[in-house]
Subunit: 339 residues, 2 copies
């Protein structure tokens, strides 16, 4: 088969790779119905995050049909349609039981999913199967649950979004847009999306944003304060991962309010004294998508929402390099790839 | 009257000061039954925190009898025994209503309480009166509610201490010791106090610590991991405010667990990437003591516990300089001062 490899900054190749096979008895092999490119893939693509070894395979979002399972896999069966998190987890350890499967004691980050066939470790813990094969038109939304929606959902949950409250979303990437959708589902009264990109503003409004703020940095913070009686928002969802976005989030939050952060931080340093006097709650990390997967899959299957709208570009998998370019240049919000 | 002034590093003077009077109609004047020296007073005493202007008055913990109130004060009356937080608050703004009185929109930090007479701003919001004059022997414990107990209580609350859970307390100062007491009251099953000071270990055990860990830094973290099946504690209460104690707290906490921090940070910088992958909840700040005061005062009056034990040195107020010396040299945990 052919799979996606990153050779260096902006050098993506779709090339011959060994077809995955069962390595451990807890593995499953799945044939992907769809995969996609993550905002976090752009960090190494741009050469900002360095890998110890290049070339490196890419991709961690996936859904598809089970082809084969190891002999210790008992819940997942060949022929089933499954979705899994970007972080494989046993779903039995004490950390998983607490709902933090993305920090499972056996966690393995997925990294070879931009390919037609994928080995999934800890299949029983990682994968969630649907009862029936889903209709084709729901595949994009089901794929979204694997990471980008699950991560947006975690952003809203970790920021304590509640009915009647005000939520601010910093970042208009795919995760930020689905954080808007998640905040809407959780009943936020007012959802302020911070975006200066017209197409993204439009989708944010479609997903439930009540207000758009185009200002950034100190001006953005001042605008949020103005809109919240001078005190800041109840919940602020940081969906970027830069120093500027993190400080914008913390400084836009009221004392006693909640800041979540789900974008992998790059060069972020927090000053203890500022954080102390801000008196916010801070919580984030790699989203425990597995915790939310069953509910999110049900919401998609029952057509309660349409997170798949975040894919505004669909390409055949062998054009993956163009998919990266389109996202890098902000021509596309998120690229879905069809094997 | 005479009051306490800091002139510079280790230069405390008890000297003639103007007697406080009502300045705003929302003020009260109280005659102190007792005051004390806070661990946070040691930062400027040691010259680590710089004040813009020296000399500066000192002290922010207090309880006593109301002498006079401004004409807009309606809940608090002369003759009542009152306790107030180290942060004056209106207790009516939206931040106060949310339980974050220490970040009240009208907040004023108290700073002249190491004196016989004190002006308290926003008296109706700041002070809590007892129904009757309390017995003398309860004065130390009532004084403790004003900051050191309230802060330890916030540490336990912000770290989500719950029945059956494991709590670790980093710091064996008075706040750390009362954080142990608070965790005990909140039902923690296992309370691990980190201390290498014999008298403090003893008091920690008396307050409810089930285990003592003497190691610090990486060794301390390794010890906590060993004691918690390799995953870290559910709740870690950081009661110091240094880089080392903060990192010790974060690294001793399980993924999905809770870190609180209540010691004013000095030179603390948090790395965003480490925090992200630690996946802990982080919450702290100046403790919203006013939120807890009514309950804590009742617990003291009903003799449910004895937080006043944390005062292991009692001096007449005019010996305040010796009180600072004893704490600076760790001869005393906390000094109570009698006007």
């Amino acid at each position: 088969m052919r799979g996606t490899m990153l050779y260096g900054p902006r050098d993506i190749r779709f090339e011959e790779r060994p077809e995955p096979t069962i390595v451990k008895p807890t593995d499953a092999i799945i044939r992907l119905s769809a995969t996609c490119i993550c905002g976090s893939d752009l960090w190494p693509y741009r050469g900002i995050a360095n890998f110890a070894e290049l070339p490196t395979p890419m991709g961690h979002e996936y859904c598809g049909i089970v082809e084969e399972v190891g002999n210790e896999v008992s819940n997942i069966k060949p022929g089933q349609f499954v979705v899994g998190s970007f972080a494989a987890s046993d779903n039995t350890c004490v950390i998983c039981h607490d709902g933090y499967q993305s920090s499972c004691v056996q966690r393995e980050f997925m990294s070879t999913a931009q390919a037609p066939i994928l080995r999934v470790p800890l299949a029983d813990g990682t994968l969630v199967a649907t009862r029936d094969l889903p209709p084709k038109e729901l595949i994009p939304s089901l794929l979204a649950t694997s990471d980008v929606l699950g991560t947006g959902w975690f952003a809203a949950d970790a920021a304590n979004v509640k009915p009647g409250k005000t939520a601010v979303v910093v970042g208009d990437g795919a995760v930020g847009l689905l954080a808007v959708l998640s905040a809407k589902q959780m009943g936020a009264e007012r959802i302020i999306a911070m975006s200066r990109h017209e197409a993204r503003q439009k989708l944010a409004r479609e997903f439930g944003a009540t207000d758009i703020v185009t200002e950034r940095g100190d001006e953005g913070i001042a605008r949020i304060k103005e809109m919240t009686k001078g005190i800041g928002a109840d919940s602020v969802l940081e969906c970027v991962g830069t120093q500027e976005s993190m400080m914008q989030a913390i400084r836009s939050t009221r004392a006693g309010g909640f800041v979540s952060y789900v974008g992998v931080p790059h060069g972020v340093q927090l000053d203890g004294t500022e954080l102390f006097f801000a008196e916010v709650h801070l919580h984030g990390g790699p989203a425990p998508v597995r915790r939310y997967l069953p509910d999110l899959i049900n919401l998609v299957l029952n057509e309660k929402f349409n997170p798949g709208k975040v894919f505004d570009l669909t390409l055949p998998l062998d054009q993956v390099a163009e998919g990266y370019r389109a996202m890098d240049e902000r021509r596309a919000i998120k690229t879905l790839l069809r094997p």
